[in-house]
């Protein structure tokens, strides 16, 4: 394991110290939103709870959830706890439909953000020796600015490259001696392709050492591809604008999940269907309460991201809880005969199975009272055509791998290459025929 510095003392507190800090900050946050935000005051009252009821960390469970729709209903500043005069920065999420989600920061929030990003870039290997190229789009999106503040805070040299203009990205990377790349994993893979087209070998002709990827989920297969292509050590990090932007959690070089800065965020895992709080190690929807934000504290935000929490001390020396790689979105989750299945799990299996392509189409239907899942995958390796035995063996292998990961049987159809639909934007790979009434 690569040894890195630990940026803050708070990352190594023992559990009791951490819980004490969390309780004190939670109580302050709950009082702050109750006092300043009509939405919270009303919701707390509807649930028969008031700030004085929060006596232990477990009392957090008495509070109602906040959901994405609450931002929309209170657009633009209705959820803010600070007067507009105290705000020094606004950001907004892209918002694919309708109004964007607006977030704001006080001067203290900006300091907190900078500090939390400094933690994640440090645990990912970046130091003041590094030149960091930020290939996220600068603008209303939180990603680029958040990373910029934190990287400068640790003393790295920041190139605020923004996204797009890929050939110029590669040229600057080469000429400035970029050592750390900050982007989405898919854009990093695309950049490597373009570099090759330009006759530049990303691994040998460039100086990259670190890849800090975020903004979208990725798989272990993608990590390996990125490491191999660029000759880097890559980590991923997690955040969302509703909570602050990037900096909520980040992976250390032990690669045992993403450390959540628990002195600023309290994570919970819930059953997405019932709202019931689940225990450590159990998989469910991540819910986060911010406990140090001034402008926009959020109580029990349902992230829709599916993960699990692990409290054992990490090899890197940090004691903060680790969240596992995001397995999917709770709104993508399929329930098949009581078993939760995520398209991302299926994708991971297919990417790691030789002979077939990464594209797939899932059909879910009922046969009698039983849920069935049928997955079309493309055969890409002609060597399997030597005999039926080999083709059937491949089919069996895909099924067995899926069974290992999903815990259920699936029907697998091998189809011709390029016969499945390709998606440029958000992929629609699941057809659930059970919904037809």
């Amino acid at each position: 394991m690569i040894q890195t510095k630990i940026w803050s003392r708070e990352e190594t507190l023992d559990r009791e110290q951490m819980r004490a800090i969390q309780l004190e900050r939670l109580q302050k946050t709950v009082a702050r939103v109750y006092e300043n935000v009509p939405h919270y005051r009303k919701k707390f009252k509807d649930n028969g709870v008031e700030p004085g009821d929060i006596k232990t960390l477990e009392d957090l469970q008495k509070l109602p959830f906040t959901v994405k729709a609450d931002f929309r209903d209170n657009y633009p500043f209705g959820l803010f706890s600070s007067p507009k005069k105290d705000l020094v920065r606004f950001h907004a999420s892209s918002g694919t439909t309708g109004k964007p989600t607006v977030v704001g920061y006080t001067r203290k929030d900006m300091e907190t953000w900078r500090e939390l990003i400094a933690r994640i870039v440090t645990m990912a290997g970046v130091t003041d020796e590094d030149v960091a190229q930020i290939s996220f789009g600068f603008g209303l999106f939180t990603g680029a600015f958040g990373l910029q503040h934190g990287l400068e805070h640790v003393g790295a040299g920041v190139i605020p490259m923004s996204s797009g203009n890929t050939k110029k990205q590669i040229m600057i990377m080469q000429d400035f001696g970029t050592t750390a790349l900050i982007s989405t994993p898919s854009y990093a893979l695309h950049m490597a392709e373009i570099a090759r087209e330009m006759g530049i070998d990303p691994k040998n002709d460039l100086n990259l050492k670190w890849g800090l990827f975020g903004g979208e989920g990725s798989t272990e297969a993608m990590r390996k591809a990125l490491n191999d292509e660029w000759g880097i050590f890559s980590t991923e990090n997690y955040g969302m604008s509703e909570l602050m932007g990037p900096g909520v959690a980040g992976e250390c070089t032990a690669l045992r999940g993403m450390h959540i800065s628990e002195d600023h965020f309290i994570p919970e895992i819930i059953n997405p269907d019932t709202g019931e709080v689940l225990g450590p190690g159990e998989t469910g929807e991540l819910v986060i309460t911010t406990i140090t934000k001034e402008a926009l504290p959020i109580v029990r935000y349902r992230t829709k991201d599916i993960t699990s929490l692990h409290y054992e001390k990490c090899d890197c020396g940090r004691t903060t809880v680790r969240m596992s790689k995001i397995q999917g979105r709770s709104d993508d989750m399929l329930i098949l005969g009581g078993v939760n299945v995520f398209p991302s799990q299926i994708e991971e299996v297919l990417i790691n199975t030789e002979g077939i392509g990464p594209h797939y189409q899932i059909k879910v239907f009922k046969k009698g009272h039983l849920d069935k899942i049928e997955i079309d995958v493309e055969l890409v390796d002609a060597n399997y055509l030597d005999s039926f035995k080999m083709l059937e063996e491949l089919n069996r292998k895909v099924k067995a791998n899926l069974r290992t990961v999903l815990g259920i049987d699936s029907i697998v159809n091998l189809v011709e290459p390029r016969s499945l639909q390709r998606f440029e934007g958000k992929a629609k790979r699941v057809i659930d025929m059970r919904e037809e009434k």
């Binding site: 002609a382 055509l385 005999s387 159809n413």
Partner: protein
């Protein structure tokens, strides 16, 4: 040199075979021999065409998964028991046979047999030493 055949992946859907033969027709490849085996979910088409190298490239360009492989082709004499002799010779040599299909080169003329066997070279030698005609070019 042995005969080369193409194995093509065909999903079990109506019209798939016609799509493929149309492609061969449009590109000017002659189908000398063809055989399709299927299971419930997919089929493998085996074919001997003129200019297999170019045919393979054309298939790849059109997104068709195909593999070229050597096969044994023989022209047994047109008399009772000749095919039995072919198989007996191979059996005596311990050569396994994976599949067999046959085709006629010209109407009313010889009938060729295509065999996928464990060791093509050994099979060719054994058959020729027993005066069975081995086809090396079609």
């Amino acid at each position: 040199m042995a005969i080369r055949q193409l194995s093509v992946f065909i999903p079990n859907k109506p019209g798939k075979l016609a799509e493929l033969t149309k492609l061969f027709f449009d590109e000017g490849f002659d189908i000398r021999a063809i055989s399709v085996y299927d299971t419930a979910d997919f089929g493998i088409l085996r074919t001997v065409v003129s200019n297999p190298d170019k045919a393979l490239a054309t298939l790849a360009e059109n997104g068709v998964v195909a593999k070229m492989s050597d096969v044994l082709a023989v022209n047994p004499e047109d008399r009772r028991g000749s095919l039995n002799e072919v198989f007996t010779i191979l059996a005596n040599e311990g050569i396994s046979i994976e599949y067999v299909y046959s085709f006629v080169v010209e109407k009313g003329q010889d009938q060729y047999f295509v065999l996928q066997v464990g060791d093509i070279e050994k099979a060719e030698k054994a058959l020729e030493s027993h005066s069975v005609e081995v086809i090396r070019d079609i």
